[in-house]
Amino acid sequence: MSAHRLLTGGLIDRGKPLSFTFDGRRHSGFAGDTLASALLADGVSLMGRSFKYHRPRGVMTAGSAEPNALVTVGGGTRREPNLRATMVELHETLTAVSQNRWPSLATDFGALNDRLSALLSAGFYYKTFMWPSAFWEKLYEPLIRRAAGLGRATLKRDPDAYEKAWAFCDLLVIGAGPAGLMAALTAGRAGLRVILADEDFRLGGWLLSETRLIDGRPAHDFAAILVEELAALPNVTLLPRSTVFGWYDDNVFGAVERVQKHLPIPSDKQPVERIWRIVAKRALMATGAEERPLVFGGNDRPGVMMAGAALTYAARYGVAVGKRVAVVTASDSGRQTAAALARRGVEVVALIDARTASAQASPMPEGARTLTGAHVVDTLGRLSVEGLVTVRAGFEERLDCDAVAMAGGWNPRVHLACQHGAKPVWSDVHQAFLPPDVGPDFQAAGAAAGLSTLAEALGDGVRKATAVVADLGRSAPTVPLPEIDAEEAASGAAASPVWLMPGARSKAFVDFQNDVHAGDLALALREGFGHAEHAKRYTTNAMATDQGKLSGVNASGLLAAMKGLSPAEVGITTYRPFYTPVSFGALAGTARDEEAVPHRLSPLDGWAKAQGAMFVEAGLWHRPAYFPRPGEKDWRASVDREVRTVRAAVGLCDVSTLGKIELFGPDAAEFLNRLYCNPMLRLPVGKARYGLMLREDGMVFDDGTVSRLGHQHYLITTTTAMAAKVMSHLEHAAQVLWPALQVRFASVSEQWAQMSLAGPKARQVLQAVVEDDLSAEAVPPLAAQAVTLRGGLRGRLFRISFSGELAYELAVPAGHGRAVAEAIMAAGRAHGICPYGLEALNVLRIEKGHVTHAELDGRTTPDDVGLGHMLARQKPDFIGKRLSERYGLTAADRGQLVGLVPVDRQRMIRAGAHLLREGAKPSTLNDQGHVTSACYSPTLGHPIALALLKSGRERLGERVLVWDRLHKEEFLAEVVSPVFVDPDNRKIEPKEPA
């Protein structure tokens, strides 16, 4: 336990101690700590186990690139797995547990994999678990997943709220480090609308880790002064705790703001996370640079970490990562970090520099040995590092240390700029991949652009923002650059990176989270997977939750070195959103439950509920399916009773969900005439007509009624399911096909409550509610007219029948629907009225041979469903006319609508069953058609069905085989007319009063 809290220093509030637990043990930290810094301060270096070999791992970074320290935070409904301890802001009562270990972090049986690692090389899964192929999904994959796992998500309902928001700005600055802060200040002072987003909870970026003075004060104070000024500017929005994760078309950026993730108990007045979509005229990628790990034997031992992270822990959190720190480097940056660590009171015992000639060596802290031209070949220790084995000029030496800081150079964080397909550009000068030029709207600044010194970064922020200000037509203020104490010399040409320290005695890891070591990449190359994208998939390098933030460039460099090429020729794998993981909750936003799938309720919903309806979901609609009564043992009993009541007396059904479109204009008639395949021009005022709309390919699109309410005033209805599509179809016709026609229309589906009153007693019941004369002379079949209800309410009445009975559809303004339905029920009580639902409606229409979308399934013509007579070929044009004349659509052997009655009157026919010739072998090769709708007919006392049968109308009386392979059924049925009940339509207008 060698990591410890320093006595002084750090941007933590030592007056605010916080207690928390890790794997059940109580720890304490301070306000301003992350979980990782607090654990280190308490001497915890072991924070996780690796994915494949279960090797013990410690924290490697102090930021979002962390591959190892993945923890599960919180419990119960708020348990959240796979969080990076480096990004978890400490709060009182925080509970965290480690992952991928059993029974404990220190004693993990899964570590057996490490001993077996010779068998578990790259591609092991592909090679081993290939046969038999059926085993992969059911056996191998679940086993592998259990053995190599991340944390487990809770299956409980998330109690928290999430939301999405749009934001607009002139300049989005991504990253609030030296370049970002100066850029935001420059643009902010010029009056631009600026958004400054940073993933950290404290703004300042590297300035929070910087140990030198800026303008004579600590760098973090300098940052705080800039942040204070920015916060005061009304045109600047600061978004801390906000990760810009994606760059999308039109310079729209996606960001996730962790609004309340740092609070012990989030307020229900705010979302816990918010997704921002930021529309930015210009954006600056001031995302800094990621330090490059060094690849040497045993480089994954807990206690080995990035040098910059070690400095951040010291400077920002007041934590020494060890008592005897060794710094391993191949660049000047390692030397500078070693010096900075010493300035912060961390004892640096050795500097191991792989370079032989380091002329411009920074002065080393007292007591620190410098080994130049030396390589690390192994680390010592088990659960934490206890020493290094180095080799210099052939001589081996053991070095005692309890922490190792690696400084392999810096990789600009270029990800966002590469999300549109542009590739990072290798620079020999920088020995790094730099961001590609993606145009003036999105530029890199500071370390992200490859600049290596603080002064350059500060200056670049001002310079890039000044250009944006000028570009947007404003004049930029002069922003003076601060004085930096003991500025480092600009490094100029970077030293060649050391991609692999030679002579590794144990695994030299490249990807820490996915356990990919240098040998795996060599194997991939040997086996023909040497392309950067192939090697990635073969070895899983850069495929873990950290997406290769530490490993991607090293893998590219290693492959290049092995091939004898430049990294420029090897390239790097593709960067895609998201930069860091985004929770499903944030992505869903408010779209869950009824916000995702709203319940559409009819204006008669309350009435139906009061009537005891059982509901069924039909699209978004919740519609009454049937209305059970006491003593009815199943739904069929209720439906049969409802059907019988309608046939014998009267029933009331809610049909408000039908689409309703009202049309006006001198050309409304012509417009409708072109939309429907049957004639509409001479529909008289006050009349309704059944209409069929075709698609342009000649198939039926939708059916409904057309009512002419006035000379230039029509109302059409659509089926419930197609209401929105028909509306769009009309809009297309009016705006694109025939914009010269003078017609205007609007959806009035929601404005009217509509109910169907059907049955022999319908007229008597309705007359009790409606003032107007309802006699057959006044309101004949297919009448469509305005009526006045008793009490003065105005409504619309349509003499339309779907059931085949004497029937009316009454429409009243939606708000009056329930009262009118209740009045009708009261008036009908003496006549034995009952409410009926969707199920009974369906039985009634099947008995009558009326079609729905079960028959009009997009593959049927009007003639197929027995409505060929409706096609008005004399019309010059209508949608679908021309292609409905094709041979294929008029051939005699098409499926035609017929009725079916089972020969054994007890057999229920199921929709979807195939029809075959009697005696034919059951096979789809012998298919003659299929059952579209089926039900039990209470009117006839046996099952019936509608079907599409080849040349069906010529085959009445024939027996066909009904074959349902799914239900293993085969039985005979007789082909009959599809109109089972009242084929002469006598019931529509009974001769004698009922």
Binding site: D250, R277, Q735, V736, K881
Partner: protein, 92 residues
């Protein structure tokens, strides 16, 4: 597809508010036109790499059909116009 479409009636709006209908350069043939013309109109579609002219309906806004000229490769939206105005102006 671009993130934003500039509706001539509603201004720049997120693409999620729009529904694509397809190639806007196809003109509905006269009823007596050839079988080939009708076949092409109903069934044949190009899938161009580069500039494409399509109908998009602003279903979550003004509900107007728009003629959107866009580049399928770069995702740039090059122009947006009201479809009825385009049709009546004689230009496609």
């Amino acid at each position: 597809m671009a993130s934003l479409i500039s509706c001539p009636h509603c201004g720049p709006r997120p693409k999620e508010e729009f529904a694509v209908r397809g190639d806007a350069t196809l003109l509905r043939p006269a009823p007596e036109a050839s079988d080939e013309a009708w076949h092409a109109y109903v069934y044949l579609r190009a899938n161009p790499r580069g500039v494409h002219v399509e109908h998009w309906q602003h279903v979550g806004g003004c509900r107007r059909f728009l003629v959107v000229e866009r580049n399928t490769l770069t995702h740039d939206v090059l122009s947006v116009a009201d479809a009825a105005e385009v049709a009546q102006g004689g230009a496609a």
